[in-house]
């Protein structure tokens, strides 16, 4: 299972990459592998306000629907709309294909996230 060292993680299998005060958010390799082929994603809108650990999108595999939870609070700056027509990109490269980019509201919230080592234990 691929778990890059430079990211933060949630127990619900989302990742965060922090860059210049912004956060890119996606789903982990473990998440895409457990779900199987992702065939649909319901994306949020730009400017939506997110709260840490609350639902922000839904993804569906052939078999089931699951909610995605935002690892951080903040306003959505960009939505990766390419995923709408090509949700399988999340299977192909889950770390390259971020889902949303947000403005980080409170850096202290990062302390509530897992590092790669801690997340690896969640996946065992």
């Amino acid at each position: 299972m691929n778990i890059p060292k430079n990211l933060y993680y949630t127990e619900s299998h989302e990742w965060v990459r922090v860059e210049d005060g912004h956060a890119y958010i996606g789903i982990t390799d473990y998440a895409q592998d457990s779900l199987g082929e992702i065939v649909f994603i319901e994306l949020p809108e730009e400017n939506d306000q997110l709260t840490q650990f609350s639902e922000f999108a839904a993804i569906e595999s052939v078999k089931a629907a699951s909610d995605l939870n935002s690892p951080l609070s903040g306003v959505i700056l960009t939505v990766n709309e390419e995923l709408e027509d090509n949700p399988e990109l999340l299977n192909e490269d889950p770390y390259d294909n971020w889902i949303i980019k947000i403005e980080i509201e409170d850096e202290a919230e990062l302390n509530k996230l897992l590092n790669a080592e801690e997340y690896a234990k969640v996946c065992e």
Binding site: F40, E60, V62, A65
Partner: protein, 361 residues
């Protein structure tokens, strides 16, 4: 949790395992879509050893089976297989099953894994006949070989002439030298076989078939469900249940009124005559999304039904569903709405045959 004899083979083949009916079963080995399309275009093999097998044996075996079964056992010939249901007095379904007739005094009933104990108790409770009911489920393993190449693949493993084994018949024959019961049946809408034998026989057959046939794919329960869904075969717990009768499910072909009394007959006969108040139909989603089991269906602000199964059909890429819809909202092209995550999406009633069956007649 219980394991089938193929458990280690599933792990070796890289299966994702899930709990199903008390068994650890493969949901998929590669991807549900790839396995689905392999069955449609080539062939797939499924471990269905979790299914239940019940023998009914004795002088009045026919009478007992007829009393609990909606379809007409009297008209069966030896080596025939018949599909039907066991119903409660109120017409609700105990289970749907296949009945295999060896002779007038010997039947094999193949039932859903999740219902084996309930079914066995139910049949015993109804048994006021000179017949013995024996649960053989722990002794028998089963694989299903399905797809257009199934006959050619199985023919290489037996001397028996499979071209003569017609749809919904069975026979006993050696497969790779092991004594098996083989029926020309399945749950995919494709030609194919269901093979029953003792545990070691089935394990060898499963592995030998995969070794000998590079075009054969091991297939999990994931695509078993999408395959049966595309050809509108019902699943107990979705399209059939204690609360849904076979008439409401549109399974009139499996309900006979030309035989003596059986459990549920009077209710089903009345329901057929008066027309059921709701029935299973197909739905087509016009926009994007997926209609899932349990989602509510609306006409304006009135709830008029529920989705029983929904997928993006892997063979056609259409977002479609089976749904139990109240009359009069069940007519072709009726516009309805389905609530997905608190949002309404538009759907239209359509034929529930999302894909044409391709059986060997």
């Amino acid at each position: 949790m219980k394991k089938t004899i193929l458990y280690e083979d599933h792990l070796r083949l890289g299966a994702k395992m899930v709990e199903f009916a008390g068994y650890e079963m493969p949901i998929r080995y590669t991807s549900i879509t790839d396995e689905h399309l392999a069955v449609r275009k080539q062939a797939g093999i499924f471990d269905v050893s979790h299914m239940g097998e019940i023998h009914v044996i004795g002088k009045e075996a026919t009478e007992l089976v007829n009393y609990i079964f909606t379809n007409n056992v009297n008209s069966m010939t030896a080596n025939q297989v018949l599909y039907g249901m066991m119903c409660y007095e109120n017409g609700g379904v105990v289970d749907d099953l296949l009945v295999y007739k060896y002779n007038d005094q010997f039947y094999l009933l193949v039932v859903n894994a999740s219902n084996v104990d309930k079914d066995f108790e139910w049949i015993q409770k109804q048994n006021r006949f000179d017949a013995d009911v024996i649960n053989k489920s722990e002794d028998i393993s089963e694989v299903a070989l399905q797809g257009p190449l199934a006959e050619a693949m199985l023919q290489k493993a037996t001397e028996y002439d499979l071209s003569g084994l017609t749809f919904f018949t069975f026979d006993e024959m050696p497969i790779f030298g092991y004594d098996c019961l083989v029926s020309r049946t399945g749950y995919t809408g494709e030609d194919g076989f269901e093979i029953y034998g003792d545990h070691d026989a089935i394990r060898s057959i499963f592995n030998r078939l995969l070794e000998d046939n590079p075009e054969l794919l091991a297939c999990g329960l994931g695509c078993r469900d999408t395959l049966r869904f595309e050809v509108a075969l019902p699943l107990y717990g979705n399209e059939l249940s204690a609360d849904i009768t076979p008439i409401e499910a549109g399974l009139n072909f499996a309900v006979s009124f030309d035989k003596n009394d059986y459990i549920g007959k009077s209710v089903l006969e009345r329901q057929k005559r008066d027309k059921p108040k709701r029935r299973i139909v197909g739905l087509q989603l016009e926009g994007k999304g997926i209609l899932r089991h349990g989602y509510d269906v609306y006409h304006e602000d009135t709830r008029v039904g529920v989705i029983t199964t929904g997928y993006i059909a892997p063979s056609t890429n259409e977002s479609v569903a089976l749904a139990l819809i109240d009359k009069p909202y069940d007519k072709m092209n009726q516009e309805l709405a389905v609530e997905i995550r608190n949002k309404r999406v538009k759907v239209k009633v359509r034929s529930k045959k999302f894909y044409d069956k391709k059986y060997h007649k």
